[in-house]
């Protein structure tokens, strides 16, 4: 460094600007660049090895499967001949998650709007805190609560739906017994994904530029009109990504579903009849007693869940990319 050689007559001034040809690199830069690049590569390696592991084990299972992997309504990899299929699991996973989204997203958007735009300041932050607290409850606790409390108390709602909406067939309850069905699972999942959808939506709504809102107010809009004209359009992509995060949790939820649902491999369109299953629930229920081949079969079903989740995330990114002009990043 040449900073020690200062001409005696120059006034005390900041050191001359560094030479323009190259920015100086210090060890910190190198280390940090290496670390962040390493993290990025590590993530890719982890994902690739998970995918490779799943594919390898799934290939063993599928090649030994005597039934059709996609259309068999049975799960008996230990049987002779071994047959198993994911039809019921795929249906159950998608249906329970859809029920959860239908219930949770409107409520979560409502809570988020209330916290960000309606609630008095004194109420808003405790309420936000309580919603976040829901996310801190372990899923097995939700499962126990669902099995011991929710299931008995949903019996009434189920028979009400059966008698007034039974003609829709999906709400037709054809057998007696406690409400350990996909509908109950959907309600439970809705409660479980509420906090994540709410808090992400809330953050997005809080980022709406004040100028937009004030402009709307200046044009004489009421508070509802402000929300409709400036907040919701601005927050739409954020709400979609929040919903997808929630959907990801709903698709993969394990213990709560395994505790509440009475699984079966009979296909039934009646949501209120006990039965059905989800990928994660089925893996949790069967893994303990499964032999080597049975575990491969469960891993094959895990691969389908992996792909399903990838598709859902991809779809969400597509939607967000098409509405970039409103996204939070451009604010």
């Amino acid at each position: 460094m040449t900073t020690t050689v200062i001409p005696p007559d120059s006034p005390p001034s900041p050191p001359p600007p560094p030479p323009a040809k190259a920015t100086p690199t210090r060890p910190g830069d190198k280390i940090f660049r290496g670390l962040s690049r390493g993290s990025g590569i590590l993530l890719l390696v982890v994902m690739a090895s998970i995918a490779a592991f799943l594919t390898f084990r799934a290939a063993i299972a599928i090649s030994g499967n005597e039934g059709n992997f996609f259309t068999t309504f049975d799960w008996d990899p230990a049987g002779n001949p071994p047959v198993f299929g994911i039809a019921v699991l795929l249906y159950g996973t998608v249906v329970s998650s859809v029920i959860a989204m239908v219930i949770a997203v409107p409520v979560a958007v409502g809570i988020a709007l209330f916290i960000s735009h309606y609630a008095p300041r004194r109420l808003a932050s405790p309420l936000a805190y309580v919603v976040d607290l829901l996310a801190a409850v372990p899923s097995i606790i939700y499962g126990i609560w669902g099995a011991l409390f929710l299931v008995p108390y949903l019996g009434g709602l189920n028979s009400w739906l059966d008698s007034y909406l039974g003609w829709t067939l999906i709400f037709d309850k054809t057998e007696i017994g406690p409400a350990r069905n996909l509908f109950t699972v959907g309600i439970l999942l809705a409660i479980m994904i509420l906090p994540i959808v709410t808090s992400v939506s809330r953050e997005v709504f809080l980022q709406v530029p004040k100028m937009n809102e004030e402009a709307a107010l200046a044009l004489g809009a009421t508070r509802w009109e402000v929300i409709r004209l400036s907040v919701l359009p601005f927050g739409r992509s954020g709400v979609i990504s929040a919903s997808m995060l929630g959907l990801g949790r709903a698709l993969g939820e394990t213990m709560a579903v395994a505790t509440v649902l009475s699984p079966s491999f009979l296909f039934s369109g009646h949501l209120l009849d006990a039965g059905g299953g989800t990928f994660a629930q089925n893996i949790a229920a069967k893994f303990d007693e499964a032999n080597e081949f049975g575990r491969d079969a469960l891993i094959a079903s895990g691969l389908v869940l992996f792909v399903l989740t990838l598709l859902v995330n991809g779809a969400a990114r597509l939607i967000i990319a098409r509405r970039k002009e409103y996204s939070g990043a451009n604010a």
């Binding site: 606790i141 395994a258 006990a274 069967k286």
Partner: protein, 376 residues
Amino acid sequence: MKLQRKNRLRASAVGALAVSGALLLTACGSDNNSGGTGTGNSAAAAKNVKCEGAKGKLLAAGSSAQKNAMDLWVKNYMAACSGVEINYKSSSSGEGITSFTQGTVGFAGSDSALKPNEVEESKKVCKTGQGINLPMVGGPIAIGYNLPGVDNLVLDAPAIAKIFNNQIKKWNDPAIVKLNPGAKLPDSAIQSVHRSGDSGTTQNFGKYLGKAAAADWKYEAEKKWPAPGGQGATGSSGVAAQVKQVEGSIGYFELSYATSQSIPTVKINTGAAAPVAATSENASKAIAAAKIKGTGKDLALSLDYATKAEGAYPMVLVTYEIVCDSGNNPDSLANVKSFLGYAASDDGQKILSQHGYAPIPTEINSKVREIIAGLK
């Protein structure tokens, strides 16, 4: 602001964990209540343990049906022989047998005897011998029900089969009324509960029904629930919880779950003079009627599910310890002999009945001891 919120969130997470931890702890506590009486004798029992030559670690793995028995034995044994550490990994019979044939464990616990192909495979590990089955723990499978006002429900094997495969749908079905003269059976639906996952309990339940009610139960005795109808629940604890909660329900599980949650159990009409209750004592009587079907040193049992002996509860399961008759790993041989010797001893067997298990009858047990003493 952001930092503060993060800290608060963390604090709340810790709080929630503490609460859930407390819940779990109390849950475990209530499960163990039935075992409270056993602790008195265990100190005395420990004196009779022979630790000769045993030292270091002993790994074992297998059936979760004998987990509670193993826990008791390991606790007492390790209290007496301080130099030995025993680790029984309870997962499933299948996994135990796999670990055994791979040579990674000293012995395996299993709900069913080795199959011929598994015996062949065991010869690789037991260089001079083969794997053998030693019956060590028995137990009744109880049928719990929830029917307020009915205290002494009696069923026979065909009625049980028809209830669990959905042919009998109402509590006041003539078949049940005939077995329970005078009981006030309601005109309500029967809600049967079975295990949702694969399980050895289901398999033994199926074995019993397949033998004792062959005309009404035509399914293979597999670990997977075979019949239509009813609801599934996770684990014996899940089935017991459903039966406890839902009026009109009926389900099967190990006796200890019925005792700990005070669920009434069905008495079985076996054709004996009086219907038989599910108790450890009555299960032992049924196991006593079993014949040894194994050859040589193999003591695999063939249970007599259709027994009509007085006071013999026929719906039982027997779990085995699987070892090599000769050619055991020399590093673990002394430990295996010493530990299984304790488990098969009078003290080891006596503590079983206090925990919902059934001791192995003396005649078979004495053979087990003989073979353990001669393991090489």
